[in-house]
Amino acid sequence: MKTTLGIFVTLLLAVAPAWATLGEYESSVSVDRQYLRGEVRQQAMSGYTVHRIAAANGVTVREYVSPKGIVFGVAWTGQFAPNMQQLLGSYFSDLEQAQRATPPRRGRPLVVKTDRLVLVSAGHMRGFHGHAYAPDLLPTNVSAEVVR
């Protein structure tokens, strides 16, 4: 068995200069793209824009941007879970707080529902699904159901 990951870890750190995303400006999407080392496809919807990042490891992240240019939601599908600290930015502490307050139970989805953050992580080994959004940041006339 060979360890070649020393090199990999260095590369990864080099392209992850800042944490960003949920609640941040649209420009943070490009940071996530670099972090995920993926391709971005942009799609304009009624009242919002979706950036779809397909990462090299098969993880797909969708970021939802309001007309004001703020990321109000993220969703993911993949063989592995993406890094929440990266995707949630300042909202990651809300996730941590919720996990401390109500320790997750085995075998059921992780559901966090606070005034600031709604997050679901579901699925199984080699098949992760989830989404998170900031209720306060939803654009007018856009339902949270678009974040999926």
């Binding site: 068995m1 060979k2 360890t3 070649t4 990951l5 020393g6 990999f8 870890v9 080392r37 990462a55 090299a56 490891n57 098969g58 969703a75 599908t77 993949g78 063989q79 592995f80 879970a81 993406p82 890094n83 929440m84 600290q85 990651f92 996730l95 941590e96 996990q99 320790p103 997750p104 139970r105 085995r106 075998g107 059921r108 989805p109 992780l110 559901v111 529902k113 709604v118 679901v120 992580s121 579901a122 699925g123 199984h124 080994m125 080699r126 098949g127 992760f128 699904h129 989830g130 989404h131 959004y133 339902s143 949270a144 159901e145 974040v147 999926r148």
Partner: protein
């Protein structure tokens, strides 16, 4: 590390090679049009839903597994209450359940471990979707269940007192807590017998362009992500069986809608390999690269899967499913469903192969179920909860309640399937 460890490392490699040779011989017969008959072995073990080792497990399906020093039939430990999980791949056992075979503290009588050329022991960190995690070394053992034996199969030891602290890079979903105790795991181990042959696959190998934070090496106590060839990854033990190695059949009896204290069924190894595991008229739903088929309700399609490791039917959300969330009456039960009277649902599953078929289930009031039998019931066929929020509905997770009253087949990717099934990524059938 001592020279004794070094020689053990070498012998592991030898044993792995030997196991591969046996597998090849077994597969060779399967590729011919006339299959060489293999002397049938006992391929079915009792699997039971009960209150678990801590008396607080709900809808968890358990088997006993025998773990032996490779090559030995006497230096063994029987591990009871190992959870059968069709939603994961590979055996994971609490270090505390392994007794003198526990290798995680450097015990000289412990099982051999997978090591690199510098004798660093391979460690694994698995984070489940619920954000809990299992952390500990990868060891090698002969694993037996019923008459089947997986020789020198890599499995994970979940450490109660890990030698190294868990790498933060593994906790992608935040820290949902360690599963390194019986009370957290609510079992002594997990036997992952789902559609994939191992717990990472090609993504964790050196040829992958992007390796997940799952396997680690910790030279001088500093853990970094490692690439691991598939033969050294924690493996679905079924693929290591000499025969009956292409899948499993989980069979559970029908039970009362009120719930019962326990339910006894079976896990049978192989599909279409012996008289007791024929597919028969079961419909085959092949899965995609995530191990899922499409499941639709109300004209909308969601990812669907059959998971004995989920203790409920995690079905959409209360608003979309038209069912009350228990949180409205008792905040402690938020996320579980609490309808006034049981609600019947029918969803349509569509495999990657185009096969369609219905799945029917009922969801009852969780709080009522938990008080039935004076709180002494631990098996329910109608326990359900949210797989999403009131805003976004994204999965239909047919958990253990769905398995009562039927036989469910789980076909493993890459293994020879019966003629009426295909298995690019494996399949479910019922």
């Amino acid at each position: 590390m001592s020279s004794r460890d070094h020689s053990r490392s070498t012998s592991v490699c030898f044993l792995l090679v030997l196991a591969a040779a046996i597998t090849l011989a077994a597969c060779g017969g399967g590729n011919n049009t006339t299959t060489t008959p293999v002397t049938p072995v006992a391929n079915s073990a009792t699997a039971e839903v009960n209150s678990g080792p801590g008396g607080n497990s709900t809808n968890m399906l358990f088997v006993s597994v025998n773990v032996c020093m490779p090559g030995s039939t006497t230096n063994c430990q029987t591990i009871d209450h190992v959870q059968v999980d069709t939603g994961s791949y590979g055996l994971r056992v609490l270090s505390s359940a392994l007794g003198s075979l526990d290798p995680s503290t450097g015990n000289s009588s412990g099982l051999p471990t997978i090591q690199d050329s510098s004798n660093n022991v391979l460690q694994e960190c698995v984070q489940f979707a619920d954000s809990t995690y299992a952390w500990g070394p990868v060891a090698v053992a002969d694993v037996s269940i019923s008459g089947e034996k997986a020789s020198s199969v890599p499995f994970q030891v979940i450490s109660a007192n890990p030698l190294y602290s868990v790498p933060s890079s593994c906790l992608q979903l935040g820290n949902g807590g360690s599963l390194g105790s019986q009370s957290a795991l609510m079992a002594n181990g997990i036997i992952g017998v789902g559609v994939f042959p191992d717990d990472c696959g090609a993504s964790c190998t050196a040829s992958s362009s992007s390796v997940p934070n799952e396997y680690y090496l910790c030279p001088s106590g500093k853990c970094s992500v490692a690439t691991v060839q598939e033969t050294n990854q924690v493996a679905n033990p079924v693929v290591y069986f000499p025969s009956d190695n292409n899948g499993v059949v989980v069979t559970l009896p029908d039970i009362s809608a009120d719930g019962v204290a326990s339910a006894s069924g079976s896990i049978t190894f192989g599909i279409g390999t012996q008289s007791d595991n024929a597919l028969g008229s079961a419909k085959v739903f092949t899965v995609d690269g995530y191990g899922e088929f499409a499941s639709s309700y109300g004209g909308v399609s969601y990812p669907g899967y059959l998971d004995t490791g989920s203790n409920g039917l995690f079905f959409l959300d209360g608003t979309t499913a038209g069912i009350a969330d228990c949180g409205q009456t008792d905040v402690n039960f938020t996320g579980w469903y609490c309808p006034g009277s049981p609600v019947q649902y029918t969803v349509t599953n569509t495999g990657a192969n185009g096969t369609t078929g219905q799945a029917q289930f009922s969801i009852a009031n969780t709080i009522t179920l938990f008080t039935n039998g004076s709180g002494g019931f631990f098996a329910f066929n109608d326990l359900g909860g949210a797989g999403g929020t009131d805003a976004s509905n994204d999965i239909i997770d047919l958990g253990l309640p769905f398995f009562y009253g039927k036989s469910v087949f789980v076909g493993i990717m890459g293994q020879t399937a019966p003629s009426n099934a295909t298995n690019t990524y494996g399949y479910f059938a019922y």
